[in-house]
């Protein structure tokens, strides 16, 4: 039964991934955890690498949170060992264990904020209790995190006075206030709307880039979470059934992977309303590659870019993607085109049976529509959400390419990306004029 859960994949896949990587930061070797008669982790083997975002996916009750709690020491394995940079954690002395723990931070699924402390005190707690920093330095560090997570207005409020999304941000600020090297996120996006989900995931990606920590993330938000993940670990029946990147997971032709990925990844991208990446690829394969060998295909890849200041935090960023997706669906859909969200801020459209010149004309018309309607919708939304004086610089790049249906979709996308140039810009300092 134990081997059946992997169906031979585990042993096959792990060496493939390992060969291209350095020594793992954290490694589970044959770790077993039981609660009563129930075996949650069953001789699990997995590796987490330094400075990567590793996402753990799996059905509910497969031991994802249990796995994270083993990393930080809240739970101890019944069997097996956990290694940190090759050293078994259970053999660590008190000093080594403290050093190990001091590098890890944990963001709980339900935030676990102290409800009797206000936002400032919640975030300051680890600094006050575990460091000898002066009061002024603590205030400086806490206020920096509060500003970065846009909590300045609620710094003196209590958790019960905040919305769920704000509480998540407080938990994130608290998890990062000690500048940890490893941050464990237990379902940070659960219960959030599509916009907030993407904001939180982007915050994680942003902070990872900014501070260089290693993130281990539990999430059910597929495909959004894949946009920020370097590595995916699939838990299945107490084992790591797959370890690798998203592209590798898609190449697997296995019912177990299919069941999980395809059931979790919906028909549509929740944020943009476009086809999900997997469904998009399946449609491309089924409707074009398998039917007609020489069908002309044009592909347009859009990249939406924003102000650096607005990048990553504000809900408007994701609202813009939503509005762009809606416009693409409305414009290209009736022409037989189908679109998907390719990367975090990239949207892709395939136009079957349309040659490059016609596709270029369609793109020009679409860009005109974006400038006329979408930009004004976006700025109206920003002003409604963030205040009358708010404005966001936006630029849209587009790359257009012609191919045939026999071409690999990934190659088409790469070519479209390399041919991208700016097609529409909205600049606030020019009175919001689009060009």
């Amino acid at each position: 039964m134990r081997n059946d859960s992997c169906l031979g994949l585990c042993r096959h896949l792990i060496p493939h991934v390992e060969s291209s990587m350095d020594e793992p930061l954290i490694e589970f070797r044959d770790v077993t955890k039981r609660f009563g008669d129930r075996t949650i982790l069953d001789r699990i083997n997995l590796k987490i690498y330094d400075n990567q975002i590793t996402t753990i996916i799996g059905k509910s009750g497969t031991g994802k949170s249990v796995l994270l709690k083993h990393i930080i020491g809240l739970l101890k394995p019944d069997e097996g060992i956990i290694l940190f940079r090759g050293m078994p954690v259970h053999e660590m002395g008190k000093g080594e264990w403290d050093t190990y723990r001091s590098q890890i931070s944990y963001m709980f699924q339900n935030n676990a904020l102290f409800d009797s402390l206000n936002v400032f005190d919640n975030i300051a707690l680890p600094l006050r209790q575990t460091t000898n920093l002066r009061k002024r330095e603590i205030i400086r560090r806490v206020m920096t995190r509060i500003q970065q997570t846009e909590l300045t207005d609620v710094a003196r409020k209590y958790p019960s006075e905040l919305s769920g999304g704000m509480q998540k941000r407080v938990a994130l600020a608290r998890a990062l206030v000690n500048d940890p090297k490893i941050v464990l996120f237990d379902e940070p996006t659960t219960g959030q709307d599509p916009i907030r989900k993407n904001i939180i995931l982007s915050m994680i990606a942003h902070y990872r880039r900014k501070f260089g920590f290693t993130a281990v993330l539990i999430s059910h938000d597929i495909p959004d979470v894949f946009f920020i993940s370097d590595r995916i670990i699939l838990l299945w029946e107490g084992k790591a059934a797959f370890q690798g990147n998203y592209e590798e997971s898609l190449r697997l032709d296995h019912p177990m992977i299919d069941e999980l990925l395809h059931s979790l990844e919906g028909f549509q991208d929740e944020l943009t309303g476009l086809l999900s990446k997997q469904v998009f690829k399946n449609r491309y394969t089924m409707t074009l590659q398998r039917r007609q060998l020489d069908t002309t295909v044009s592909a347009i890849l859009f990249t939406v870019e924003f102000d650096l200041a607005a990048d990553l935090f504000g809900a408007p960023v994701f609202e813009i993607l939503r509005i762009m997706g809606q416009n693409m669906n409305d414009f290209f859909g009736p022409l037989g085109g189908f679109s998907a969200r390719h990367q975090r801020n990239q949207l892709l459209t395939i136009l079957p049976h349309i040659q490059l010149a016609d596709a270029q004309a369609l793109l020009d018309t679409f860009v005109h529509q974006v400038q006329e309607k979408a930009f004004s919708d976006i700025q109206a939304m920003i002003r409604a959400n963030m205040g009358a004086n708010m404005c966001l610089n936006i630029s849209v790049k587009a790359g257009i390419i012609e191919g045939t249906s026999t071409d690999d979709i990934d190659i088409i996308i790469d070519k479209a990306e390399s041919s991208q140039k700016i097609v529409a810009v909205y600049r606030c300092d020019q009175g919001g004029e689009a060009r």
């Binding site: 809240l74 723990r101 944990y106 709980f108 339900n110 680890p126 575990t130």
Partner: protein, 266 residues
Amino acid sequence: MQQTRSQIAVFSSIGKSFLELIGNLGAMALFFAEGFAKIFRRKQAREIIYQVFYIGAKSTNIVLLIGLFTGMVLGLQLYYTLIKFGSEGVLGSVIALSLIRELGPVLTAIMITARAGSAMAAEIGILRISEQIDALYTMRVDPVRYIVSPRIAASIISFPLLTAFFDLIGIFGGYLTGVVLLGVDKGAYFYRVQAYVDLVDIKGGFLKSLVFAVLVSTICCFQGYFTHMRTDSYGAKSVSLSTTSAVVMSCVMILVSDYVVTSFLM
């Protein structure tokens, strides 16, 4: 055969309960030892002061009120008993000794248990079920040091002080009924108090209040801290049952230990 089996089951059940009791007492003793030792760690002063405020200062009013009426009732009851023997002149000494030796420490401890002990168990229980204790651990903040030690320290400071307040206001309550209401001589009342109350009585009363402080704080914190280990309930229900258990166990242990300490002091 059937009867033998049921007899075995009864003894087995008694044995199991006894072993559980011994196990819990041992766990509580270790819990107290850990909590007490960590009182003397750094960064404790602020939390201890807050807990002294919460457990001690905020209990003062209710303790004074109960102390006043206890003294007044004692004054009434003892006056009508003593007058039968023509001994109403010793009213002050009887009231003072009853309060200092027994009623002061016991009633103060029970009142603090009801007001602050139940709050301790409930608050810590909620911290546990909402993963706030786990969160402390993940932040490398020792939960026992941060949550339990200040409460034990504050109880050890507050119980004797509140007992002293209770004794004083109780003696004053006895004065109100005995002297002001029923006409016992004012000088005789206070002279008897001074003449019959020895330092050993006061020390005994304070010793009891210290024992009660340790018992109440340990039991209440223990019940809250291990709420998640209860097998009879989960979540909010387990917090509710832990709070009830904490109050009941504390009251029982106050009375049991009162007898034990008294028997050693006599």
